[in-house]
Symmetry: C2
Subunit: 446 residues, 2 copies
Amino acid sequence: MQTPQKMAIVGSGLVGTLLAIYLKRAGHSVSVFDRSPDIRNIEFSGRSINLVMSDRGWKTLEDIGLDEEIRKIGIPVNKRGIHLKDGTLNNQFYGKEGEAIFSLSRGILNRKMIDLAEKEGVDFFFEHKIWDVNLATVTLFEGETEQDAWRELKFDMVFGADGAFSRIRHRMQRQSMFDYSQEFMEIGYKELHIPANADGSHKLDKNSLHIWPRGNFMLMALANLQGSFTCTLFMPFKGENSFENIKTEADLTAFFAEFFPDTKEVIPDLVRDFFKNPTSYLAIMKCFPWTYEDKVALIGDSSHAIVPFYGQGMNAGFEDITVLHEMMQKYGDDWKKIFSEYEISRKPNADAIAELSKRNFIEMSDLTADANFILQKKIEKWFSDKHPEKWTPLYSRVTFSLQPYAEALAIGDAQNEIMQEVLKMNNIEEKWDSPEVEQRILELLK
Amino acid sequence: MQTPQKMAIVGSGLVGTLLAIYLKRAGHSVSVFDRSPDIRNIEFSGRSINLVMSDRGWKTLEDIGLDEEIRKIGIPVNKRGIHLKDGTLNNQFYGKEGEAIFSLSRGILNRKMIDLAEKEGVDFFFEHKIWDVNLATVTLFEGETEQDAWRELKFDMVFGADGAFSRIRHRMQRQSMFDYSQEFMEIGYKELHIPANADGSHKLDKNSLHIWPRGNFMLMALANLQGSFTCTLFMPFKGENSFENIKTEADLTAFFAEFFPDTKEVIPDLVRDFFKNPTSYLAIMKCFPWTYEDKVALIGDSSHAIVPFYGQGMNAGFEDITVLHEMMQKYGDDWKKIFSEYEISRKPNADAIAELSKRNFIEMSDLTADANFILQKKIEKWFSDKHPEKWTPLYSRVTFSLQPYAEALAIGDAQNEIMQEVLKMNNIEEKWDSPEVEQRILELLK
């Protein structure tokens, strides 16, 4: 058992709130600060992509007995539904029979988690804006504006779970020997909406992650509980098919008619959604170290903001909590050791999932419609079914296992090299499931 | 001729001051702000590495007729003087007969340039701390502390020449679509001092850049006008031979006796210098964009801080001015175009010199004492003398030419691949200047 500490968490998002529950259960006093109003009292913002929970996220919830509660508000998704330009729909299953990721509305999940944390005795302070932190004295500075006279709030320990634009990291960044990078994507996104049918049913298969892959842009849809879908358009800011080039209703209608004709019936309020909802940015943030002595630690997006294309942002953040918790159990009151082992363990894995997520945009927006890629996936699945001990596809390693991301990435790269060799075989399209191909893969695996 | 504008430059360092002269000559009103006192009234800080001026820097001075003035306070350096552990001294010439870089004391150069800028009518405001900028209204915020009530200073245009930890860039960084990275090296540095002889002469050859290469650390010395040398110890912060491990006078004396025995006589105040002077950090900063509309521009270290191992930091900053000035002459009052062409032209070259500088630590601290590397340089020089139109060594491209850094880097990499092939030839040590080797290089160049 650890000596109780007075802890503050900045940020009441998913990672901050779940971390609060863990720390509270470990016997600490926990105050969570958030600059926004209580998400339970406001409408969601219209700039969210639906979340998917997979094995890593579930593990963090299971370890603390909250998985059942959350599973009730999610929808299992076991495949990609690829909508080609000619109207064809292809299903590409994610894993084996019974394996699925879970679609969750960010707002609903966050509300639920805050309820659960409050029940545990966590104190929430909404509309409390934390502008700065004194790392050495573990003092938070709170005020209405950045130029205000600030109130000082003193703690034993502070966790920065305040997301990609973290103020806590911002202070750490001004130290020597602190590495940091922010990289914005050329691609932005906009939320659109597929409402439920009149009878409350879903207009599309709710157990698919729907993708309309169109090369360097794509539309995506994930089901909500009440029959609707949260839909997201990912597209370059500039260039031929881009947000910049859709200026008028006519532009928009023509663009959708050309590239997404089959969405006309399911997105009735396209024009309103498109021009009302903001175009959001995507950025990758990296930094190191993640902690300051035994006093301050970053967790979740504040230390490793990634792009959403692998559906791993929340899962990676939850896995941070799992690892932090392991270290707490291992090292007791030695918080210097806990923090240092935590950051050393997580950093390479955070970098790996950042890389995997970035690559996956190309897979989703382009390759899912590519015959060669589909053949590769087919061969991998076939070989993996025959030799499960020899081959787990990369997607499954990342999504349906707890293998460290860095290992999954390294093995995935090696597997991909093998598959590139296999795809060079004569008439591979015809003999892809032949003993010859099986032998070739077995050889290459040596 | 451009329409006169009211311009502010933040930072009175070398780049800020030279830019001020250029802008003043172009007819603008120019105010330079610096948080520090006037460098002409204070002692230098004991944490500087001597500068070297090479062709790019000279060009920027020549174009405005200031090169003669500056050449008087510099010392030509035409070679590396490599001090091996056994006491041997090897000379490695930088270029052809007559080619040299110029060693300059940062403080003396900066004082001189501020004098020159004042003569031109530039206004300097020392001990004026700029904490923030409003990019859209081009307003600087000045005050004694970060939490003060700030004075507002309004301009038509602001240049951030405020170095690696730029406040102007710091504001730009908080915008969307602004890419930024800071990366600290594992190696730090400390200034030491080789005084002049009693008669004012230099204790070592003043026309050499002296290096004591010792693998992952090194000592370096560059001559000053008055007979002294500014000496710099580059070494890891942590590990076997590191700053961390030199805690006492005894540690220090033993360390120098083992690795730099021949410096005992020339660095008489080693112990005082070492424990008095700070250990400084080295960092690489990158960002993009460098400008905001036609209102704000970064220049020099604020947009591309690099490590000092190629002696190109000041030269790269001065070249920024050359390119900005070219764009001013080309595009007149179209400052949006001037800024955008400036940043597009400079960014790849800034990235290239960052990479080259990073690599050069290994060359200086390790390879200069490596037989293979010395042979490679010898072959390159021999071949380049025979076929000057076919081969200019990388160092000469960077130092004694105005070829864009990005091109120099690309060609240098290609040349290095060729040399790696050549070094694999049988008995290359003996036949390095044979017709066979010449033929092989000519073939590989095709």
